[in-house]
């Protein structure tokens, strides 16, 4: 027991005291510099000659309260679309990436199709895909055409699936060939090797960039409103047209940022964890 009760030497005590003083000092410096910068910003903005006009047309509390319900119900559409499209695009991307790794002549057409898909949809602007699907497909007047919202979601899934497929593929290729040799030498089939050895390592490695693309998707789902459905930004636009005041846009913007914060925080956390694992810690 005596071994555990370590009495710090005078030198160590002096060091600890010095470090404590340094910490207090750092906190004080950070607080005062933040306060100074904040004051400066507020004075600069509110002191500007046009501040009163800007405040009336962008930050009117009454109009904000009036627009909130419509913008919120638009945001609910964004959230639902985001969840469905993110799941669909992740699944599609994974399937395409795996198809592109298949070897052997039988799979040539599959490989070629998967490759041309990623080339096409990464090159094609999202807006064009969106118009083609939401305006072109219903124009065919076929029986059982899905609603515009589903077609719009499909456009998002197709476009983002192309990006995510490349991210997954990079992950699959980053798994060292010796891992495949080890798995095959145990008698695992190609499919079992992919499923139990390659993909788990690949997905872990590319989780940060995948989530980053999901954050980008969150901002793009609103583009379906170009085809009719009313998302948060479109709702804000309608409210703005009625009140001749831009406050609804600010409301929508604030809500978008609030919605993104948890997703971005998760991304940062996963990235940090991946970096720690890489460094062997």
């Amino acid at each position: 027991m005596t071994l555990l009760e370590h009495t710090p030497s005078p030198a160590q005590l002096r060091r600890s005291a010095y470090r404590r003083r340094q910490t207090v000092y750092s906190v004080l410096v950070a607080a005062s510099s933040t306060a100074a910068l904040g004051t400066l910003l507020v004075v600069a903005v509110t002191g500007a000659p046009g501040w009163d006009r800007v405040r009336r047309s962008f930050l009117d509390p009454e109009i904000a309260v009036d627009a909130l319900p419509a913008v919120l119900s638009g945001l609910w559409l964004n959230v639902r679309l985001l969840v469905c499209c993110a799941a669909g695009a992740l699944l599609l991307g994974l399937v395409i990436a795996v198809l592109r790794t298949l070897r052997g002549p039988i799979f040539f057409p599959v490989r070629a199709l998967a490759a041309s898909y990623t080339y096409t949809f990464r090159g094609l602007p999202l807006i064009i895909v969106l118009y083609l699907l939401t305006l072109g497909v219903p124009g065919l007047r076929l029986q059982g055409t899905p609603p515009v919202l589903v077609l719009g979601g499909l456009a998002l899934v197709l476009t983002y699936g192309g990006y995510l497929a490349e991210v997954f593929r990079a992950g699959i290729e980053s798994v060292h060939p010796s891992q495949l040799a080890a798995a095959r030498s145990l008698g695992l089939t190609y499919r079992q090797t992919m499923r139990h050895v390659v993909l788990p390592q690949a997905v872990r490695r590319v989780a940060p960039p995948l989530l980053n693309d999901v954050v980008a998707l969150q901002k793009d789902v609103g583009l379906v409103s170009l085809a009719g459905p009313i998302d948060a930004v479109r709702a804000a636009q309608i409210a703005t047209a009625q009140s001749f005041n831009y406050t609804p846009y600010v409301v929508a913007g604030v809500l978008f940022v609030l919605l993104a914060i948890p997703l971005i925080a998760v991304t940062d956390w996963v990235t940090l964890r991946a970096a720690r694992r890489q460094s062997g810690g």
């Binding site: 010796s178 891992q179 040799a181 080890a182 798995a183 095959r184 030498s185 145990l186 008698g187 695992l188 089939t189 079992q192 139990h196 050895v197 788990p200 390592q201 872990r204 062997g280």
Partner: protein
Amino acid sequence: MALLRCRGLRKEFAGNIVLDRLDLTVAEHQVVALIGASGSGKSTLLRCVNLLEELDDGTIELDGEDISDPRVDPDRVRRRIGMVFQAYNLFPHLSVLENITLAPRRVHRRARAEAEAQARELLDRVGLGAKADAYPDRLSGGQQQRVAIVRALANSPRLMLLDEVTSALDPELVGEVLAMIRDLKADGMTMVLATHEMGFARDVADEVCFLDAGRVVESGPPEQVLGEPTQPRTRQFLRRIIEAGRL
């Protein structure tokens, strides 16, 4: 009867002939050590036997079956052969126990409880029982390599291929891995091992084959090949090894 019989093996990589009309026969319960300079084709030979490389000529028979026939399912052949690599090649995302039970569960369709019980027993036998739930990056090199050997053994292979399994290890960790291979020999396991440990080859091998430029230049009992080599190239190789202080 011969468990493994390689006849006239040829393998080239982009015009570079790595195996050249190579013959090798391994009887059941026999331990054969492959020695030879770096680049002499030891790893390639082991990879060909495990069907990880495609042959350019020759035949390989395992238990009398021609496994180099392209109609043979390589996955089925590999289940009868255990392979251990220089760099361990454990799966970093799986625990020790999961590494060992992966093939028994997925390939041999054993129940999870049964596979884990067998894995724990094998781990206990080599003194690694306490590491069952650890991840590979928490183990020393010697422990990782012993887990890799256990992983290969969990398939109950007929033949073990060991490719310089101590070359990546710190000198003080080599002994524990070699001890494990000695125990395997005592249990009657048939093994082909590529090695730079001449002392170990002399100790454990029934036969030593000296490879040079893709051919078996000299083979025989260890005392003969390592003690009184008849071929000038074998003598030259052993002289270099002795100068490097490894014999």
